[in-house]
């Protein structure tokens, strides 16, 4: 078998060695890592994301290397919910092939889909801009992580939080309480350190308690089949999900 031959090579001393497992074996983009490597990656990516905020891939990496336990727990919760189980079976993906941006734009104001459209167009985002997953070692958990990354923008919309630092921290709080992902918890705890004095006040007095209430009281958001709710009225959807609308101070996003 060709694969077996590729695996072995002769080193400079004439000894036979086994080649390290490569890319793409488990799923496209998968890089196998030992526990030591995951630890080193976690430390390195945490440090690098602080040193160079433009390295968005570092936060993604941190999420992947530290998230196995949380991803398993999310998967179990999804399996316990009929809609969640459906998502795991069908493995829907949100990108410009599966969702038409124009369709979202054509929806009436006040719908969830239109809100998401506003979020994308106002901020210049695209549902296609998702970083590939490398370090999750289980293909099923890999889908859960992928789903989390995709619906993050939808969380912004349903919570009514803009993608500035304050909004991101609020969303991270909700995500941390709902998913248990360490990367979300770290973002929720350390993100506020970057806020200016004016925002810090708003954060502590209004947004933080609101985000915590939502995180605890809302239905399990990972088990929501978001693609089936584009045409729903946003406020009705929020009520169904037990989500408090954003505090009045927040501007339209």
């Amino acid at each position: 078998m060709a694969r077996e031959d590729d695996r072995m090579y002769v080193d400079g001393n004439g000894q036979l060695r086994e080649r390290k497992l490569g890319y793409d074996e488990l799923y496209p983009g998968h890089i196998p890592t030992s526990t030591l490597q995951k630890v080193l990656l976690s430390i390195g990516s945490a440090g690098m994301s602080l040193l160079d905020p433009s390295r968005d891939d570092m936060i993604a990496t941190l999420g992947e290397t530290t998230g196995t336990w949380a991803l398993r727990s999310i998967k179990e919760k999804m399996e316990a919910d009929p809609t969640g189980q459906r998502i795991l079976t069908e493995q829907p993906v949100i990108n410009t092939n599966t969702v038409s941006i124009d369709y979202l734009g054509s929806l009436p104001e006040g719908t969830f889909g239109k809100k998401y459209w506003h979020f994308l167009s106002k901020n210049g985002f695209s549902p296609d801009a998702r970083l590939p997953i490398h370090f999750v070692d289980d293909p099923e958990l890999k889908y859960v992580m992928l789903r989390y990354r995709q619906v993050h923008d939808l969380f912004h919309s349903v919570l009514g939080m803009p993608p500035h630092m304050l909004g991101e921290v609020a969303v991270k709080w909700v995500e941390a309480l709902q998913t248990g992902l360490p990367m979300c918890a770290l973002g929720a705890l350390f993100g506020p350190l970057r806020l200016g004095p004016k925002h810090t006040k708003k954060y502590l007095e209004t947004y933080l308690p609101w985000a915590i209430r939502n995180g605890q009281n809302a239905k399990f958001l990972m088990a929501v089949y978001w693609e089936e709710h584009w045409e729903d009225d946003l406020e009705t959807l929020r009520q169904e999900l037990n989500i408090e609308p954003p505090p009045i101070i927040a501007s339209k996003s």
Binding site: D11, N13, Y23, L41, G44
Partner: protein, 275 residues
């Protein structure tokens, strides 16, 4: 391999420092000290991309010339553009074969040759930043088929480049061809660590840590895993020395650095070649 270095060019120097904890600088310094070049040497530095060896070569000669015992005019590295006008213009390099007759016999010169233009560009900007305009040229070329005349260089160096070449034997015969009789071939390359205990440590470090560094610092796991594997596959010190002899070089020796993590191999194109 080309793709690897295209991705790697920008962060090359940073990664070298990180992976070797800066020790690669010591290795390269030692390499040039072993060469001990004198004024007037024409050096060809192959796979020299970002210029580490070339700059050290020029600096070594200049520091020798700064020695008050020396009488002749020192080789100065001018910092104004005017002086640059007297060097061979860089578009000269686009010619098929480089004519070296234009160079003044008594000045030292290094020609940096690399297959990868991105690496050369990084080297060029480093030279500009250091204010080095003369005595150095940047030529794109293939080590297995050099764009230079026979017998045209006093010294040939290849530092951490030969293991990436597909046909090492061709690189060696080309090196032999372009060197003048009496010329010296020197290679600095990763080699095999023979102490078993240290080798295990070195392997662990290489396979576990280096790709992680590649991902964190350069966003490139794959290239650095390739790097680590290519190091393992390169022939050991004795085998490589034999290959150098086979290309026609004489007085072939090697010296281990840091327990064999790196090694300097040296050979001469002897005046009387007995085949």
């Amino acid at each position: 391999v080309y793709e690897v270095f295209k991705n790697v060019a920008g962060k090359y120097d940073l990664m070298n420092d990180a992976m070797s904890f800066g020790i690669h600088r010591l290795w390269k310094d030692h390499f040039i000290h072993r060469m001990a070049p004198v004024e007037g040497t024409k050096l060809l530095d192959v796979a020299g991309g970002t210029g580490d060896i070339a700059f050290r070569f020029l600096q070594y000669i200049q520091s020798q010339n700064d020695d008050p015992i020396m009488v002749e005019e020192s080789f100065s590295i001018p910092t104004n553009i005017e002086a640059g006008a007297y060097s061979i213009p860089s578009d000269y390099a686009e010619e098929e074969k480089i004519d070296l007759s234009g160079y003044k016999e008594d000045t030292s010169h290094v020609t940096v040759c690399d297959i990868n233009q991105e690496m050369l560009n990084v080297g060029k900007s480093r030279a500009e930043e250091a204010g080095i305009f003369t005595g150095i040229d940047w030529v794109q070329g293939n080590a297995e088929c050099l764009p230079f005349e026979d017998n045209s260089f006093d010294a040939y160096t290849i530092a951490y480049g030969i293991r990436n070449c597909t046909h090492v034997d061709k690189v060696l015969t080309e090196a032999f061809r372009v060197l003048k009789p009496g010329g010296r071939f020197m290679c600095l390359e990763f080699s095999q660590v023979n102490n078993l205990g240290l080798r295990r440590l070195y392997d662990s470090y290489s396979f576990e840590v280096i790709p992680v560094m590649g991902q964190v610092l350069a966003r490139d796991w794959k290239s650095y895993q390739y790097l680590v594997e290519s190091i393992r596959q390169f022939p050991n010190q004795k085998k490589f020395a034999a290959m150098i002899r086979q290309a026609g070089f004489g007085m072939v020796t090697y010296e281990n650095l840091t327990f064999g993590v790196s090694a300097i191999h040296s050979g001469y194109k002897l005046l009387k070649v007995v085949k």
